[in-house]
Point group: C2
Chain length 97, copies 2
């Protein structure tokens, strides 16, 4: 799947944002969304195949983290999307909760 299609999916962008500057276990990522764990796992697979996330295994849990450099010129695209005021607001409310 080509790089642009990978990040064109909103859910995958949200996942990327979650693991942007800290690693997180797959389960914790899945909990943030109201879709099944399997669905999130499939998205993680796509991100993994694209090289946009790295995985660290420890026991039975997999820790995911964004590979920011792998995104190349797409990185500023994502960062700009996340920098919009509305998006910031939603993010802050989420974190407060």
């Amino acid at each position: 799947m080509d790089a642009l299609r990978v990040v064109a999916e909103p859910r995958r962008r949200e996942i990327l944002r979650l693991v942007w500057d800290q690693e997180r276990p797959a389960g914790e990522i899945a909990d943030r969304f109201d879709v099944s764990f399997a669905a999130v796992s499939q998205h993680l697979g796509v991100l993994r195949d694209a090289g946009f996330v790295n995985v660290r295994r420890d026991g039975r849990t997999r820790y995911y983290r964004a590979d920011r450099t792998a995104l190349g010129p797409l990185r500023p695209v994502l960062e700009k999307m996340w920098a919009t005021s509305l998006d910031r607001l939603v993010e802050l409310i989420e974190e407060e909760r």
Copy 2:
């Protein structure tokens, strides 16, 4: 349709490339592809709605041209994709024909 989805579609990227540094009539653009004129027109509509192309009407023909600045951070993404050697090669062969 959000900006990333718009350019995630390969056909639309090809169209953008065609009108990247010169305007072209819709018909001429459509001729380059082996899909119907209507299909290309629909893609042009999406690009128009996204603001990624401008249209100049003259009589019955519509001249399309990319609005490079409107692409913002996506511009370097496209330019990098088009800069790959394989892509360059295909482009050169096409132009030769």
